[in-house]
Symmetry: C2
Subunit: 326 residues, 2 copies
């Protein structure tokens, strides 16, 4: 099996690649070849180098998507995209990468000809939804994004569903929860603190908390996100039906519950490294985000996530810290 990953240099792309290299198979089929594309060249994974191509390219640029599918990958993970904050500050770049890039990939698949019909798994986002929300957002809630990023993801979902319905590909759109604990350095994303208040204290550093303890949010670990993508790749057209864009399950908890979990897993001393520094701007942004979903379709289709925020913290300690807490 030949797998193409776009956005392979991003956090989820790297973790998905690592997992595929370890598994060396997906859905029982051996992986013979990996093609990794991103706007910066993805790192070649160790232990799979004979069968890996990496390439730095912009999917929306002329000819790039055609070239990416010219070797007819059987399975495409389309993760490429600019993040929410950048799509909001740079309107044209957001549409170029998140909409034109996706459309170019879909068109390249459609026009490849010769009966080519890959599986295409697309990472969407809960940002396709916009406030006001019901208490728990059902699978049939309407798409009223309140950001350009959410708009681009919603449009990509609609395109994917139409290309799927027309038989050009077998698609699935996976609406990821907020992914915590993100490894790496603190970033300026408004959602950054959800990871920061766990990651920094575990590494012996202070973390700022800009919102109230009562803020409720929808979380999954990077490990769970990779699991969603791999599970989606194994679902059949018949199982998915027409409604191929799916809200993933998550762990719904408040910031206060996140902190309580950190105390349970790592102790009071670690949790004391969180410093409250209310930021009205972040408070306001976060208030517009969805916080709880009724993801019954995804659960019925066999998608799984951590059972508690404690497990999300433990996954981070295992996957990123070699089991050690500072």
């Amino acid at each position: 099996m030949h797998i193409l990953i776009t956005g392979a240099a991003g956090m989820i792309g790297r973790k998905l690649t690592e997992r595929l290299v370890i598994d060396r198979a997906i859905g029982g089929q051996p992986i013979e070849k990996l093609t990794l594309i991103d706007i910066v060249a993805p790192t070649r994974p160790v232990g799979f180098s004979d069968h890996v191509k990496t390439r730095a390219a912009d999917l929306a640029a002329p000819g790039v998507a055609e070239k990416a599918v010219s070797e007819r990958p059987d399975l495409i993970f389309h993760l490429a995209g600019v993040v929410s904050g950048e799509a909001e500050t740079d309107f044209e770049k957001g549409y170029h990468v998140n909409l034109d890039g996706t459309r170019a990939l879909l068109e390249a698949v459609r026009l490849a000809g010769g009966g080519y019909k890959p599986k295409l798994i697309f990472t969407s986002s809960i940002a396709v939804f916009g406030a006001p929300f019901p208490d728990a957002i059902p699978d049939d809630f309407h798409l009223t994004p309140l950001t350009s990023y959410g708009t681009q993801k919603a449009i990509s979902e609609l395109l994917l569903a139409d290309y799927n319905r027309r038989g050009f590909l077998d698609g699935a759109g996976i609406r990821l929860p907020s992914i915590v604990v993100r490894p790496g350095k603190p970033n300026k994303a408004a959602s950054g603190f959800f990871s920061g208040i766990i990651r920094e204290p575990l590494a012996g550093q202070e973390a700022l908390l800009p919102v109230a303890d009562s803020v409720l949010h929808w979380h999954a670990s990077p490990r769970a996100a990779v699991g969603f993508l791999i599970h989606a790749a194994g679902l059949t057209r018949e199982q998915l039906g027409d409604r191929i864009n799916l809200t993933m399950p998550g762990v719904c908890c408040t910031v206060g519950e996140q902190i309580a979990a950190l105390k349970r897993v790592a102790g009071d001393k670690v949790a004391a490294r969180i410093r409250r520094a209310p930021d009205p701007l972040v408070e306001r942004i976060v208030a517009g985000w969805p916080s709880r979903f009724d993801a019954r379709r995804a659960l019925a289709l066999g998608f799984t996530v951590e059972g508690s925020f404690d497990e999300i913290i433990r996954a981070h300690i295992e996957d990123e810290l070699g089991g050690k807490i500072a």
Copy 2:
């Protein structure tokens, strides 16, 4: 006030133009200029010729949208589009006209600069929804179109909402019910019979009915459709809020109720010109269409429609037949 109408040569475009020419004002403001664009040159309306420009052009072609907004119309009615059947049989044409044309218009508005911020009213469709449906489709039902046409309308709605939110324009998307009674000749659209079984008998001709009397559908007259567009043009940003794409009210009735209304309005002799000729293909297509909506937002915003199918028939007799039944 300068008004631009795209798709001005279509049925709704012609009726909207006629109405504006009669009213000579909209929302209390005098209309000084009309620009009418379509892929075929729209007819110059009688009695307004000093202030009308008509043009045959493809909005998605390079430079056309820029030229269309270069004289900075205050109000744009964007009606241009290929219909459902054509968008399904000609995939590329559907996306070219219904998606690329809309995006080109929105981009031309955004890039016009100098504080240009027109009102833009877009005709969307209940085809943005796809089966399975609840008994009455609520305003917050998700967008899962089952046609390329519905996909293109849903994507255009999302783009319009984002351009509205970013402040590039003041937009509203108007999801039209099925428009009956359509004037003119029978056409091959699967929905054609909803008009045909009224229009042909009233003109002294036989009409074929391909579906069962129990089929339920959502109707509004061409006169009501024009009323929706004009009412939308008068709504403020504050009234519309973030959710600018609105399902319009309609008359929900079965085919049997349509026929009963025809008997009441025009007599048994006229209604006897309907001949039942079941067509399993049409039955199957129609079964996938939405039939009943809970359009409470539009009603609260003051949109109005006929109160019964009898009124829809009477509107046709007045507007198209000069009050006379054959």
